[in-house]
C-alpha cells in the first residue's frame, strides 16, 4: 500500500488495517427477566413426562452498531443459544435460552461492535486507525479488540431432536382413553460434536446464532365399541362407538454446549403441550357427551427446519473481564 496502517500477526495475516473494521468489546449485556418452564409436559403425568426444561433469560445493551454477541456459560453442562435478537432504537434485546429449569447460574453475554460504532471512550490516550476518509475508525485501542481462539463451521444438529430413536408419529388401535406416552422427547443425546482445541469449560465463550428448529408430536387414537343393550345375550340395540385422542408435542430450538475440546450443536426443548379428547356417539338413553383437554397449541406441523450449518467463533472471556 502507498500509505495507511497495517498490522499482521505472527502468521503474516492482517489483523488491523485501514479498510476493514475490527470488532471491539463494549461490555456485557444487562440481564433482565427469566422465564423457566417445561421441565415436564404440562398437564400430563405418566410415562415419559420428563423434559429437559429451559430458561429464557432476556438481556439488553445499548449501542449504535449491530452487536456480535458471545455467550459465556456459567454452567457449562447446560445447552445455550440466542434464540431471538431485536432492536428498538439503539437498544438491542437478546433472548438467551439455556437447558434446565434452574434460573441460577445464568450466562453472560459479551458484546462486540465495529470500531466506528463503539461508544466514545473517556480515555485520551491510545491508538486509532482511520479509513481513507479520515473520520471512520477501523481500530480503537481504547476499547479492547476481539481476539478469537477458535471457530469453524458448526454443522446442524441431527434432524431428529428426540432421544427415542426415530421421530414420533401417530398410531391407532389403542384402547379408548389410552394416554400413556411412549416417546422420550428429551434431547440430551441428540447432538453433533466438533473438535476444537479452544473449547473448554472454564473461560470459553461462543458466538453462533440458533438456526434450526423442530416440532414433533406423538399421537395415539383409542377406540372402543360397546353394546347398548343385551337381550338374552344378544346385542339388541346396536353398538355405541367411543373415540379418544391423546397427543404430546414439543418444539425445539438449536442450542450449543462446550465440553473439553468439543463444541456441540444440539437441541433444547422450547415449548411443549399435551392434548386429550374423548367422545362417544349418542346411545339413546345411555348416551352422553365426551370430554376434551389441551394445553398449548403446536406451532406448526411436525418437521425439522433450517437444518443448515452456521459459522461459530470462540473467544476467551477472561480477556474482557
Amino acid at each position: 500500500m502507498a500509505y495507511g496502517f497495517e498490522a499482521k500477526n505472527d502468521s503474516g495475516n492482517i489483523i488491523i488495517n485501514d479498510t476493514i473494521e475490527n470488532l471491539h468489546f463494549i461490555g456485557k449485556a444487562t440481564r433482565g427477566s427469566a422465564d423457566s418452564a417445561y421441565g415436564d409436559i404440562p398437564n400430563y403425568s405418566g410415562s415419559n413426562d420428563t423434559l429437559d426444561g429451559r430458561v429464557v433469560h432476556t438481556y439488553t445493551i445499548t449501542c449504535s452498531g449491530t452487536p456480535v454477541a458471545f455467550i459465556k456459560p456459567a454452567d457449562y453442562a447446560r445447552w445455550h443459544s440466542i434464540i431471538k435478537q431485536s432492536v428498538s432504537g439503539t437498544t438491542w434485546t437478546f433472548e438467551v435460552m439455556i437447558s434446565g429449569t434452574s434460573t441460577s447460574n445464568p450466562p453472560d453475554v459479551y458484546c462486540f461492535v465495529n470500531a466506528d460504532d463503539i461508544p466514545t471512550p473517556s480515555e485520551t490516550h491510545g491508538m486509532l486507525v482511520f479509513k481513507s476518509d479520515g473520520t471512520s475508525k477501523t481500530f480503537d485501542s481504547r476499547r479492547q479488540p476481539l481476539a478469537i481462539t477458535g471457530g469453524g463451521t458448526a454443522s446442524a444438529p441431527p434432524s431428529d431432536p428426540t432421544n427415542t430413536s426415530g421421530t414420533p408419529g401417530t398410531t391407532s388401535g389403542h384402547p379408548w382413553n389410552y394416554a400413556t406416552n411412549d416417546h422420550d422427547f428429551r434431547s440430551s443425546n441428540r447432538y453433533t460434536e466438533h473438535s476444537n482445541s479452544a473449547a473448554n469449560t472454564s473461560t470459553a465463550m461462543f458466538s453462533c446464532p440458533s438456526l434450526a428448529q423442530a416440532c414433533y408430536k406423538r399421537q395415539m387414537h383409542g377406540f372402543h365399541q360397546s353394546c347398548i343393550c343385551y337381550i338374552f345375550g344378544w346385542c339388541a340395540c346396536g353398538y355405541q362407538d367411543h373415540w379418544s385422542t391423546a397427543s404430546w408435542w414439543v418444539m425445539y430450538r438449536q442450542a450449543f454446549r462446550f465440553r473439553s475440546g468439543k463444541f456441540d450443536s444440539g437441541w433444547t426443548g422450547y415449548a411443549a403441550g399435551y392434548a386429550f379428547s374423548s367422545a362417544y356417539e349418542s346411545g339413546g338413553w345411555f348416551g352422553g357427551g365426551g370430554g376434551s383437554y389441551s394445553s398449548g397449541t403446536m406451532p406448526y406441523t411436525a418437521k425439522t427446519i433450517n437444518l443448515q450449518s452456521n459459522a461459530y467463533i470462540l473467544a476467551d472471556s477472561s480477556r474482557y473481564d
Partner: protein
C-alpha cells in the same frame, strides 16, 4: 515478543497483540422477509469470509421461521442472501466477517 504490536488494557494487562487472530467486521445489514440481497465488498477479495445469520423479532413458538440462505462468491467479495428454495424467509440480520488467511 521481539517485535510486533501490543495493546494493553488500563490495568496494564495485555489486551491484544500481533500474536492474536481475529475476525474483522465487514458489514452488518438486515434483510427483509422474503427479500433477495446481493452486496459486494471489494476490500475482502480473497479473504476467508463468514456470514452469520440471526433471526430478528421472530416469535419463536408461533410460526415456521425459515432462515434465508447465504452464499459467498466472486472471490469472496459478494454476499448473496435469498430465501430457501420454495420457502418464505423471515427477517434476518447478516453479519459479514472476514479473516486474512
Amino acid at each position: 515478543m521481539a517485535h510486533g504490536l501490543n495493546v494493553y488494557k488500563a490495568d496494564g494487562s495485555l489486551g491484544f497483540s500481533t500474536a492474536d487472530v481475529t475476525w474483522q467486521t465487514v458489514a452488518q445489514f438486515t434483510v427483509a422477509a422474503n427479500a433477495t440481497v446481493a452486496n459486494t465488498y471489494s476490500e475482502i477479495a480473497g479473504m476467508t469470509v463468514i456470514a452469520q445469520r440471526q433471526l430478528v423479532n421472530v416469535p419463536p413458538n408461533a410460526q415456521e421461521d425459515y432462515v434465508p440462505n447465504v452464499a459467498v462468491s466472486n472471490n469472496s467479495q459478494t454476499i448473496t442472501v435469498s430465501p430457501q428454495s420454495g420457502l418464505s424467509s423471515s427477517q434476518c440480520i447478516i453479519h459479514v466477517l472476514a479473516q486474512d488467511t
